[in-house]
């Protein structure tokens, strides 16, 4: 099983590795699951960037305000990539199409994820910012609470 954030893929078919990018090839047997994957990657294409400089480790950047393209990806099956934080980069699929030879409906996809680092290096958290009305101290209200 692979869990990308809150989305679950039962059995990925294969992985391909290109430097720090893992490309996951897989299929799901329900249209809803395919759309759930697509929804998770909805902002990936335009909301992320990878900066490369010769001789250095490429840097992944999540440009979404809420960092929704940064997901904790867990792999629990054999011969798997590292469970870690990944930047969701791209998702490709063919709607309503099963692979040739499939006995049942199968919806194939591929997904690109850029490796950021494991839990040993990163910790999830929040940045509290932009507290409204900090100068006035209170959200203006008639009771002066």
């Amino acid at each position: 099983m692979t869990q990308i954030g809150v989305a679950v893929v039962d059995v990925p078919v294969d992985y391909r590795y290109t430097q720090y990018v893992v490309t996951m090839l897989g299929s799901v047997d329900r249209d809803e699951d395919l759309h759930a994957m697509r929804e998770l990657f909805a902002l990936a294409r335009t909301g992320t960037a990878v900066h490369e400089m010769p001789g250095r480790r490429p840097i992944g950047e999540d440009m979404d305000e809420d960092m929704r393209n940064t997901q904790y990806v867990q792999f629990t099956h054999g011969d798997r990539p590292i469970t870690a934080w990944y930047l969701l980069r791209a998702f490709r699929m063919f709607q309503d199409e099963s692979p040739i030879g499939a006995d049942e409906a199968q919806y194939a996809f591929t997904a690109d994820m850029f490796f950021l680092g494991t839990n040993a290096y990163y910790v999830a958290g929040f940045a509290v910012k932009d507290m409204e009305d900090v100068e006035d101290e209170i959200l203006e209200n008639d009771w002066l609470i």
Binding site: Q3, G5, V6, A7, R30, E32, H35, A36, E39, L40, A42, L43, E65, D66, M67, R68, T70, Y72, Q74, T83, W85, L116, N119, A120, Y121, Y122, V123, A124, G125, F126, A127, V128, K129, D130, M131, E132, D133, V134, E137, I138, L139, E140, N141, D142, W143, L144, I145
Partner: protein, 796 residues
């Protein structure tokens, strides 16, 4: 007390705040509390944002304590009076100090640039010559949140102190490290060493600003330090308008203090038998906390907890496998939109009447205890109940914002509508509605209710709605900003509505119609865009213990029940009129069978007996739906008399009569088992026989185990009860010690004169107010402190 309700993911551990490179560890379950939702326990960090001391009741986050040496003529009290927090308490014995204090359960991390501002007033600047007269008023930041120990005994504190003796007034700023106090400043003005003064101004405003070390700066700014500023005046307005001076020897080195997350506290100390009393209280008008505009919260969580308690937007019912969670603001919906955070869930049932459906997670299931959430466009009298989703503003695991439109029918057109922005945040029980835009422009009325009866509604200031007696709660000048609805026989949840704007249009009131139908009437046309309304569903499993009929309470001293219960031989209740013309009215009988409230109806048939169907063990209320010409006799099937309803009377109910000195009745309940720790209102529904006897009803809440008072007066106040039924209330506490000791508490009503009037006690009602975490005032005040909390990934 206001807090920033910072919700963490389920399973979060190793919580800490990071600011300016420093870590401030947060202790789970000490500094935080949990809210239980669909995914498990959600840790909430209540970051203290101060208190403006508004409302009927001191916030539940302030816990009280006092020593027995202050418990004499004037016991210790800390009561809000028109926006002022007043402390009272006199020494039991002149020359022996008595102490009283309140301590906050919300933390203040002393981050770089954190500002704490507090106003402190003492009643006098010179207690006149004589021994045993000294008084103190202190404000603390304490290392621990222990309430049973007075703050001045906490080993590690920072504090500001005003000390008044017969020599005059002297102020001190000090730090205590392992119980060793070091004075940083002493003076009667901002000049250090300015000495005790009999004419020093006794109204003061203190501002403390914490700073981290600045490398290379002049000592003490090269280490962790604090600046302290003072405004001082002869009265409150003068002090507020005075020039703020930094204390002459500020800043101060605090690099050696042993805590960096503090709990605020106030303390009075007195060896004086005249101070603090009525008119000579110690007073604070506000206590404010401001944090730096950027700091981080960090935590660990297990792989299995990914996504738990996130805010989620779904295309379709989240419990149905074909639904899809939405991450894209441009998502095209196939099914209805659902918005949820594990505690509450909003279903936008498109173009369906009452289609804004709010659910609460309790009893291991999603429940919809209130099924109507809608507005009324007042001028056109158009009910705006049919929602459609307009668009998604933002989606994140912390906060998701959508826009909807409420229509006046299931026809999607533009004749009448209301655009509303809806926000749900992590860890909050509240749904936020704002940016109200009604077309055509006009006043708006808001409704939150259940189609089934919700018996009680509370709209502040003794204004109670009770459906069983057709009583509306109607308050045009609400003291606080929240409304509460619940039914002691109903769903185990409190329905709460709160707002930032007082209604200024039309009826201008908070309204609880027929009990728990909550309404804000009306939002003036000019206020609609600026008004925010929050709707909260707060699980409260011990709801059944919030109400008791007086006749079911404990009676003593000769107090008697007003009705006679049906005898054991009766198997149903019957009724007849003395007038043959009374054959159109229906008699409703409300009572109980084996303790369960039950209703029966009898259609009158003139002078003939008509039998009911229910074998009541107790009858509470008899109610007619129309005026009768004759007297209506109601009795048990064995002809045992229950009651006669006089002609032209449509409503009588059961009560306890107190008609002689020291007759009493009280509601006993066990702390913890029957109601949890917190601050509550004890509401009495009582009347007197006219003319009312002045100050004849004594009411109080006591710990029956040790006899101490739990109402905020710390005394047994007397009230004059009017000739018609009305509500009277007391603020009281159930303390942690009450709970741990399994103590019984009594809500008591007692007649104290031997005069001939009769006091009728109908029932006792208890309204949960605050516990520093989850109750209506906690949520409604904290909503006035907002923040954004975007998710980040940090390098360890």
């Amino acid at each position: 007390m206001t807090m920033m309700e910072l919700g963490f993911p389920v399973g979060a551990t190793a919580l800490k705040i990071t600011s300016n490179g420093r870590d401030y560890p947060i202790l789970l379950d000490t500094d935080t509390f949990d809210r239980t939702g669909e995914d498990g326990d959600i840790p909430i960090l209540p970051l203290c944002r101060g208190d403006e001391f508004i409302g009927e009741s001191l916030a539940g986050a302030w816990k009280k304590g006092w020593t027995t040496t202050i418990d004499a003529d004037q016991a210790f009290t800390a009561i809000i009076d028109s926006g002022l927090l007043k402390f009272k308490g006199e020494a039991d014995l002149a020359g022996t100090y008595g102490y009283g204090w309140i301590k906050s359960m919300h933390v203040v991390p002393m981050m770089n640039e954190t500002e704490v501002t507090v106003e402190l007033e003492v009643p006098i600047n010179d207690v006149v010559a004589g021994n045993n007269r000294a008084i103190y008023f202190k404000f603390f930041l304490c290392q621990n949140k222990v309430v049973t120990e007075r703050p001045s005994l906490n080993d590690n504190t920072l504090f500001v102190e005003i000390h008044v003796t017969d020599n005059g007034l002297l102020m001190t700023v000090a730090k205590s490290i392992e119980d060793a106090d070091t004075n940083l400043f002493t003076g009667s003005t901002y000049i250090d060493g300015s000495g005790v003064s009999e004419t020093a101004d006794k109204f003061t405003v203190w501002r403390i600003v914490f700073h981290d070390a600045v490398a290379g700066a002049t000592a003490p700014e090269d280490v962790n330090h604090m600046h302290v500023y003072l405004k001082q005046g002869v009265d409150r307005p003068t002090a507020e308008g005075a020039t703020e001076n930094e204390l002459s020897n500020s800043p101060y080195d605090i690099s050696d203090i042993l805590f960096d997350v503090g709990y605020p506290a106030y303390q009075i100390s007195t060896q004086n038998v005249d101070y603090y009393d009525d008119g000579t209280e110690a007073v604070s008008t506000y206590f404010r906390v401001n944090y730096p505009s950027l700091f981080s919260l960090k935590y660990d969580f297990a792989d299995a907890d990914v996504g738990k308690s996130d805010v989620e937007l779904w295309d379709g019912d989240p419990d149905v496998s074909t639904s899809v969670q939405v991450f894209d603001e441009d998502h095209v919906f196939t099914h209805d939109a659902y918005l949820q955070n594990g505690l509450i869930r909003l279903h936008i049932d498109e173009a369906i009447e009452y289609g804004l459906k709010l659910y609460s997670y309790y009893n291991v299931a999603w429940n919809q205890p209130f099924d109507q959430l809608w507005f009324n466009a007042v001028t056109g009298d158009e009910d705006l109940r049919w929602p459609v989703l307009r668009y998604i503003e933002s989606i994140s695991p912390e906060k998701t914002v959508i826009w909807i439109r409420l229509l006046n029918s299931d026809t999607i057109n533009d004749d009448y509508y209301l655009n509303v922005r809806i926000t749900i945040e992590r860890g909050k029980y509240s749904l936020k509605l704002d940016n109200l835009d009604v077309y055509p422009d006009q006043d708006l009325r808001f409704w939150f209710l259940d189609t089934a009866t919700v018996r009680f509604g509370y709209v502040q200031d003794n204004d109670i709605g009770d459906d069983d007696i057709n009583e509306d709660g109607d308050n045009s000048t609400p003291t606080d900003n929240f409304l509460v609805a619940f039914d002691d026989d109903g769903e185990e949840v409190l329905g709460v509505v709160f707002t930032d704007e007082k209604p200024a249009g039309g009826n201008t009131r908070f309204f609880a119609e027929d009990g728990g139908d909550l309404s804000i009437e009306d939002i003036d046309t000019v206020d609609t865009a600026g008004t925010i309304i929050w709707i909260s569903l707060i699980p409260f499993s011990l709801l059944a213990n919030l109400f008791i009929e007086a006749e079911d309470a404990t009676l003593g001293g000769g107090a008697a029940r007003y009705f006679t219960d049906p005898t054991g031989g009766s198997t149903f209740v019957r009724a007849q009129s003395s007038a043959g013309a009374d054959n159109t009215q229906t008699l409703t009988i409300i009572g109980s069978v084996g303790g369960v409230r039950t209703t029966d109806t009898i259609a009158l048939n003139g002078v003939a007996w008509v039998n009911g169907a229910v074998d009541f063990t107790r009858v509470y209320i008899l109610e007619l739906d129309g005026v009768t010409a004759g007297n209506i006799t109601v009795q048990g099937s064995d002809a045992g008399a229950v009651h006669i309803i006089p002609a032209a009377t449509t409503h009588v109910d059961n009560a306890v009569i107190l008609d002689a000195i020291n007759e009493f009745c009280f509601y006993p309940f066990q702390a913890g088992t029957h109601l949890p720790e917190g601050r509550y209102l004890a509401v009495y529904r009582v009347r007197d026989t006219a003319p009312a006897e002045p100050n004849d009803l004594q009411h109080y809440v006591q710990n029956a185990t040790d006899g101490t008072r739990r109402n905020e007066e710390n005394d047994t106040p007397l009230i004059t009860v009017t000739g018609v039924y009305a509500y009277y209330s007391l603020v009281f506490d159930i303390t942690a010690e009450d709970v741990s000791g399994n103590d019984f508490l009594d809500v008591v009503a007692r007649k104290i004169t031997g005069n001939a009037n009769e006091i009728y006690v109908d029932y006792f009602l208890i309204i949960p107010i605050g516990d520093g975490a989850n109750l209506p005032q906690d949520l409604s005040h904290s909503a006035m402190r907002s923040f954004n909390k975007p998710r980040r990934l940090y390098v360890r």
